[in-house]
Symmetry: C3
Subunit: 145 residues, 3 copies
């Protein structure tokens, strides 16, 4: 959460825009459209994950790593879903957005039951780009790690 006195709560319209942003962004990943998903990151984006010792640095590294994961899921015939919710948006003085969301990671193999892998807190720094937003920094913390 770590709000501070400089944070401004998101204006209401912006809040809805950010929800739609994540529905589109993560829906692309779940559909296997890795290039489209990766295009939401800045070229110098950093992706940190508390299950991995080193962050991914740069959109190309993010794309390559995630493409490998998506190909593995496809080989398993596993439909993965990233479900974001409880979005909190704080506008920064420089126009950046700091967001915090809850996320559930879940998947289903063909003819199999739904498996819920775990709960995650995701924090993004978003930078404006052409009427929408790009992810400059993403920090993912899997609960229990």
């Amino acid at each position: 959460m770590t709000r501070n006195a400089l944070d401004t709560p998101a204006p209401d319209q912006l809040y809805a825009q950010i929800q739609q942003f994540y529905a589109l962004h993560m829906g692309l990943l779940d559909d296997g459209a890795v290039d489209a998903w990766a295009s939401f990151f800045t070229p110098d984006a950093v992706f940190e994950d508390n299950t991995t010792p080193e962050p991914l640095r740069g959109r190309e590294a993010i794309r390559a790593t995630v493409r490998t994961r998506v190909e593995h899921l496809r080989a398993e015939r596993r439909q993965f879903r990233h479900w974001f919710g409880m979005v909190d948006v704080a506008v920064q003085p420089d126009g950046e957005l700091h967001t915090r969301m809850y996320a559930l990671a879940m998947s289903t193999v063909v003819d199999g039951p739904l498996r819920i892998h775990g709960h995650v807190v995701c924090r993004d720094r978003l930078i404006p780009r052409g009427g929408s937003w790009t992810v400059h920094n993403r920090r993912v913390e899997v609960d229990g790690v």
Copy 2:
């Protein structure tokens, strides 16, 4: 997802309205108010489901089929919940909305544990009616089927 060049992202206020629409619509179903739930469909609505060979055609067929399911749940004393999230809304040139949502189907019997049945992708075509919306077409795809 299948956005195309003619799609326009939802204006921000509309997006919030659609979220509220689904909370109300599906809350009515989970409360067992099948008539009120069915009134959100157009008389000629089509309901497609990848677990069923033939779509339901017309509000009356949708209502009758779902009423039977709800009576079955009531006999089991099973509280069913339809949880929609990750809503994506695209405004069409003719004023229709094309929506895509994730949905979790879950239920609890009296004194029993929560059971999460599966994950679903739901796509609606919504038509304006009197300041709100009606479902003209719903396509439900259960993951793993």
Copy 3:
């Protein structure tokens, strides 16, 4: 649900504001910031729960009870998450808001799997305070109880 003729659906901007309100409010609780979480209740707030015979009366009672629970979770090294969704907001003639949400209660111990405890329907009466809202009454109904 129990809407009546006097209820007015939430204006769209208000709806987004209330979603952000719950993300912030419940995020504080999950972060263990019990005082900050409790500050969202009015001094005379009432908290009803269908798993408990008597409601909690007053912000101090709510805070003390929840602090004990949070300390217990911390001793277990259990990260608890309250996930709200499917928010329905109805503006009352006197300016109060009546909200209804679905909630999933889930938790993860260190190195353990995600456990989803149950599904809840939460109903609040919210009173305006300084550009935001306070909870005057919360009624929590755990499914299956």
